[in-house]
């Protein structure tokens, strides 16, 4: 593929990425929304975060992995407990990374 086609493809990718990002805020930000929609939207952050998180913890290479070697899953348990108890953003990240690093160092 020549350079010009590549760049035009990237511009196309930009448009189809940006429009869904910007359309909702431009359309909805300055408007008072109907109550059912506001309540539905209030569940979106929880739903979308878990939809992104769960597969990264439970799946490895596309299949279920509950083995002791799935450090992402086992590190998540103390990380969840710390996050719930302390609400510490940075502490949770540091603990999670340290546990995964330790798991790889000692058990991999």
């Amino acid at each position: 593929m020549d350079e010009q086609t590549v760049i035009l493809t990237i511009v196309g990718m930009t448009l189809v990425t940006y429009i869904p990002r910007v359309a909702p805020v431009l359309a909805l930000a300055s408007r008072s929304l109907p109550e059912p929609l506001v309540r539905w939207l209030s569940f979106v952050p929880t739903a979308v975060l878990s939809a992104m998180l769960f597969p990264s913890l439970l799946l490895r290479d596309g299949s279920f992995d509950l083995s002791p070697q799935n450090f992402f899953l086992w590190a998540a348990i103390p990380a969840f407990i710390l996050a719930v108890k302390t609400k510490s953003f940075f502490g949770t990240v540091a603990l999670g990374m340290a546990l995964v690093a330790a798991g790889r160092y000692f058990f991999a």
């Binding site: 909702p24 569940f43 975060l49 939809a51 769960f54 992402f72």
Partner: protein
């Protein structure tokens, strides 16, 4: 009026430093997550034969990690531009739900601020901002410090990866690839208020796993989110009726 302006100006001088340190502290896990993935993208782009200009351009103007990695693989396979653009659209459509859910917090923002804010929304910055807004931290300055820092780190990491070619060091022993999952854990716990949210999290998370397993991985996040939010709203209105 004058006193108001003066006091606002006076309180902004010491606040400047706090804004930066607050923004940089919060964006740190995102940067830790972006640097290795951005570098990996740069390496792949180099191997695929993309030019440095195209690589940096894609990270600068598309700025959507997983879709960029998919696009590079599709360029490598010689797929036509239309397929690459259509796939990018599907993979990134989930951002629509994210910015829609942030919109009720942005009522006082100017149009250009909304346009710039939306341009830099990724999975990670969305997760961070939705937790911040829920906790009453809606500073526009901090928001933009976070977004621009994340964006710049992504572009520089892609560029560094491209320059380094195949010789980037293995960072897995440091556990850096867990920075983003751990951040999602922390932010999810900040979002979850009450039992219904726990149910929604479990429902949506397991739906997403099932969708990935059934081969619908490009649609999994958006479908699982639609199902999860509808489930939550449905249960809530059912409980209110009783």
């Amino acid at each position: 009026m004058t006193t108001q302006t003066e006091s606002a100006a006076a309180s902004e001088i010491p606040a400047g430093k706090t804004l930066w340190s607050s923004g940089l502290r919060q964006v740190a896990p995102i940067v830790m997550g972006y640097v290795p993935v951005g570098a990996a993208f740069g390496v792949l782009a180099h191997k695929t034969g993309l030019s440095m200009l195209s690589t940096i351009l894609m990270s600068s103007i598309v700025f959507a990690g997983s879709s960029q990695l998919i696009a590079v693989a599709m360029f490598a396979a010689g797929m036509p531009p239309f397929s690459i653009i259509a796939t990018t659209f599907i993979v990134n459509l989930r951002h629509l739900l994210m910015t829609a859910s942030l919109a009720p917090n942005l009522g006082k923002w100017r149009k250009w601020q909304l346009a710039l804010f939306a341009y830099e929304i990724t999975d990670e910055s969305f997760a961070l901002h939705s937790a911040r807004f829920a906790n009453g931290d809606d500073s526009r300055a901090v928001t933009f410090i976070i977004n621009v820092t994340a964006h710049v780190s992504w572009v520089i990491a892609s560029w560094a990866g491209f320059l380094a070619g195949a010789t980037i060091p293995d960072i897995k022993p440091l556990g850096v690839d867990y920075a983003l999952p751990a951040m999602f854990i922390a932010l999810l716990c900040m979002q979850v208020k009450g039992r219904l949210h726990v149910l929604v999290a479990g429902f949506s998370g397991l739906a997403s796993v099932a969708l990935v397993q059934s081969g619908a991985d490009q649609w999994s996040v958006i479908i699982a989110t639609l199902l999860g939010a509808t489930f939550g709203a449905g249960v809530e209105s059912w409980m209110n009726k009783r």
